[in-house]
Subunit: 585 residues, 2 copies
């Protein structure tokens, strides 16, 4: 059996991306070169930031406060060194079978250590506002053969991205110590898409703040930068609104299953400091049922049955469309909530999906499902509601049904999120809308786990057997990775596709399993949107190249405490079988 | 909103199984009745076993050694009280929205406590042998309104089953303390199937002994009683064989990724003490590739390519069929391994699935894929290999291909495991074979998570897009629960279906995700096989009845440390919405 590193030395590096663990940075950088020299790393490193010595503390990596560049970088350096020195893994599953001990560098030979990390940042940040919008995330990273590390970036977030790539060079040695075998390393890198995110549904199931933090951590490892929190829906209202305490007071699932204003602030700060901007969605006017428990005056069709006539899933409930109390309600709601997000986010997501016209017929302020009556009301709704968002300095995001299905006109500032597929995307960009893609045929992570409704033993059993969910089967990482959200668009149109999100709707997902729902599948999205569907040669990226790198990165995530599902069995990850689990026709 | 317990008081108990948490014992007992009285439970309980005071220790529930009835029961009592007193959960997700505090019993009112647990066992066990085979698992459990608990059983395993049901009566109070609201309780219970199991594949992915223990724990909570360990396959040989150390020495994935003889013994003892009999499978003559690394003389078609011509998945490799060294090899292997299992198990599983005749053509001792040549060789193989199993006092289990596809005759003692579906089951029982069902259309837990092979960007991409696995989509618990393995059989034939196993083949499953792969779906199998597909009235059990009980039981599993997936969102588990998530036509 040929052991991997010697193999890596013989062949040129780019060809070997698929079988060389030490080059397996995820998402793959724009340009990368590496050598075959071993470097070790310990705590004795001289770290400077723009010429000043940078203090760091491996034991309190999360404790950074505030938004100055130096604070952001200090926190990131502390976390990076913790990941490298404490959370590395012994890569037995990446080397040949039973060959770990003979493949690792000698632990007894003289060691060259990383001596310095020199960080240079051109720009500076002074407040949270500097960390939102279209940040320059580019960076250069070099690791010399004698252990000198240099990082150049425009923004502190670029520094974070560099540090993450740096952390992925290292492995735990089976006899102790941490090493890389690929020095010198040179990386030049930047993302292909501005918006790279995860939709996290905390309304249908409640998620602890800790599980949100853990997800943000993993997002930062994946260089993902947008956490879309679907905060309210018809099933529960976990979001505390101090001006309207009755909303969560009557609409949350249970005492304590809420997000306090402190939680909302902490989540946003925690995320921004990791290069992740949080976007809250308070879905309107549909998906609003549970608010009827505290505000029956603003909700129509609450718990209307049979639900399938009035909404997409139980329980039904929509904001009334011709009721002045709704305007006051939304004024109060937005005046409370948006001032608590606009320092940390560019966006507010107003929802806008799946408005049901039969439910509007039950709304006594409208009383018909006639679209000629309803359309002007929806136009008025969106005008007013987008106005509330803009009033607080935020850009509205809306699901695509408003422009595409309800024939509503919207400001060109509005960003549209599309879940319905390629035709919808083409339609949106042809109308000039910036578009975020969450095509359910590819990027819905909840699909394919079986239906969550219970069917009676009679006709329902016969009709719905074998009880698949609506978007079955599951979208595996290979399918997620295969999708090009800009395919078939002109260059100008393609620019309007600013990115995408995988969506983890939580009808049957909660925090016990969220890690393996999200990972490694969100990692597939992360590489697609950071590195692009095509490589430098213009060829579609291949599963055959991606799988070994993703397998390695998955082990890093697990070692760092996020329980990602595996790519495949160790037989396929071990180097000598790199081609055995390929299917080439 | 009507709170649940009062609801439970008004309506009769059987009708309310679907919405009354405190009656939600999983799997549902044969007969159960309950009241509406609250009882609390603490550590001050007088526990006797056959008239003798039974010492127990909540802090070392796993420490029981040996196989005397009293020791088994003592361990079970200790674990049960730990589960009740330390690992109970606050059932906010089972009561109405935000109604926990008003629905729980008053923590300040005078409390009636459980005072005694009186255990009477008719039979006695003296060795591990008493705990294998078709054990009498029946039991009676009563909890009086004044806190006296009585358990009657024939076997210590029956006592275990009673204690498990007892443990499921209790909840953690939000202000501290543990209670049930359903006293008095009377249960009479016994299983419908003898064999209720899980197939755990530790060859394709390695699983720690701890993860196997955790699975055994959860099996005992579910009253499952057979753990089928698929111990070796073509990908890795993790099983240490002291007479042939080279098998794992060259065939395991990495140093330490093996099961020592001590592990094998510990797993079997741990399982038996929890009412679970372990059945090891050393798959032959197919699925034997990796043994070629140490014993090339006994393996044909090792890593033959293209693999799809010679085996079901990479890497290929089968035992040679006309090679005397194979006989000696298997003699040595079985003489080493079986004496280490026959004190703890009734069975040895010889595999026998997916023998590939083209691979036999590559076997120079045969050299043809002509079935007229191969058939007598397979007959000879099975005769000899079953003889090895019988020599050590064990009953052979074999996958169905040997009798059904290879036209091989076998002793009537042999138990056949069927994965190919209803026609195969009918064929097997019509030939008089005891049959274990693992119909892949229903009970394969690995299905539907996406393919694990990597496809090139050319024709393979086009052919295999969207990269579903062979048995996609996933088998949800509702589908698992819908399947009657005895459907369409005569009464005599039905008796030959001794039970079933869900199968968790581990091509892309490892211990980070095994909990949510197995649970709650194995729980669906557990109720189906313990309680039967039909209820006392002869009606098929309904998802509508099962889902709320399974949701509650899932919370118990999570609280006890097994990360089961949820059934659905809290909206559906909360009592006031018990019917909202039903689909009735």
């Amino acid at each position: 059996m040929m052991s991997l590193p010697s193999c890596g030395r013989i062949l040129s590096s780019l060809l070997l991306l698929s079988i060389t663990p030490a080059l397996a940075i995820w998402p793959v950088p724009e340009k990368i070169s590496s050598g075959d020299k071993t470097l070790w790393i310990g705590e004795d490193i001289h770290i400077t930031y723009n010429g000043q010595r940078l203090p760091w503390n491996i034991n309190s990596p999360a404790k950074c406060k505030g938004f100055s560049s130096a604070e952001i970088v200090k926190g990131a350096v502390s976390r990076t060194l913790k990941a490298i020195l404490e959370d590395a893994f012994v890569p037995w599953m990446l080397y040949d079978r039973l060959a770990l001990e003979e493949t690792e560098p000698s632990a007894s030979a003289e060691k060259t250590f990383i001596t310095s990390i020199t960080i240079a940042q051109n720009g500076t940040e002074k407040s949270s506002k500097s960390l939102i919008g279209d940040i320059d995330e580019s960076y250069k990273l070099s690791v010399s053969g004698v252990g000198e590390v240099k990082i150049h970036a425009v923004s502190s977030i670029g520094v974070l991205r560099a540090l993450e790539s740096f952390s992925q060079l290292f492995f735990q040695h089976s006899e102790g110590g941490v090493y890389t075998t690929m020095a010198p390393v040179d990386i030049t890198d930047k993302p292909q898409y501005e918006h790279r995110g995860i939709l996290f549904d905390v309304s249908r199931s409640y998620f602890s703040v800790e599980s949100i933090y853990r997800t943000i951590d993993a997002m930062a490892w994946n260089k993902l930068n947008r956490l879309h929190i679907h905060a309210t829906d018809s099933q529960s209202w976990p979001l505390e609104i101090p001006a309207m305490p009755e909303l969560s007071g009557k609409g949350s699932y249970a005492k304590g299953k809420t997000y306090t204003p402190e939680d909302v602030e902490s989540i946003q700060i925690y995320a921004l400091q990791r290069g992740v901007q949080v976007i809250f969605e308070i879905d309107t006017p549909g998906h609003f049922g549970v608010a009827a428990l505290s505000h029956p005056e603003v909700v129509a069709a609450w718990q209307a049955t049979p639900w399938q006539n009035y909404c997409a899933q139980p329980p039904c409930g929509q904001l009334k469309l011709n009721e002045s109390k709704v305007d006051k309600f939304l004024d109060t709601l937005m005046d409370d909530f948006l001032p608590r997000t606009n320092a940390y986010s560019s966006y507010h997501h107003i929802g806008g999906d799946e408005v049901n016209f039969n439910a509007i017929a039950l709304d006594e302020t409208v009383g018909t499902n006639d679209s000629t009556v309803i359309q002007p009301l929806l136009q008025d709704f969106i005008d007013k509601h987008h106005g509330r968002v803009r009033k607080h300095g935020l850009t509205p995001i809306v699901w695509e049904e408003f422009p595409l299905h309800y024939n509503v006109t919207m400001g060109k500032d509005v960003v549209v999120q599309s879940w319905l597929g390629d035709e919808a995307i083409r339609d949106l960009v042809s109308r000039g809308f910036k578009t975020i893609v969450s095509n359910y045929n590819f990027w819905y992570l909840d699909c394919g786990r079986g239906h969550w409704l219970n069917f009676d033993n009679g006709p329902a059993f016969q009709t719905f057997y074998p009880f698949n969910d609506w978007c079955s089967p599951a979208k595996g990482w290979r399918l997620i990775y295969s999708y090009d959200p800009r395919a078939g668009l002109t260059e100008e149109e393609a620019k309007l596709v600013i990115g995408g999100e995988v969506a983890a709707w939580s009808e049957s997902i909660d925090e016990t399993i969220i890690d393996s729902i999200l990972w490694p599948r969100s990692s597939a999205l992360a590489e697609l949107l950071w590195s692009g569907r095509t490589d430098a040669a213009g060829q579609n990226r291949s599963q055959i190249d991606a799988a070994p790198r993703l397998s390695e990165f998955r082990e890093r995530m697990v070692a760092r405490g996020v329980m990602s599902a595996p790519i495949y069995m160790p037989f396929c990850t071990q180097a000598m079988n790199a081609t055995a689990c390929e299917f080439v026709m």
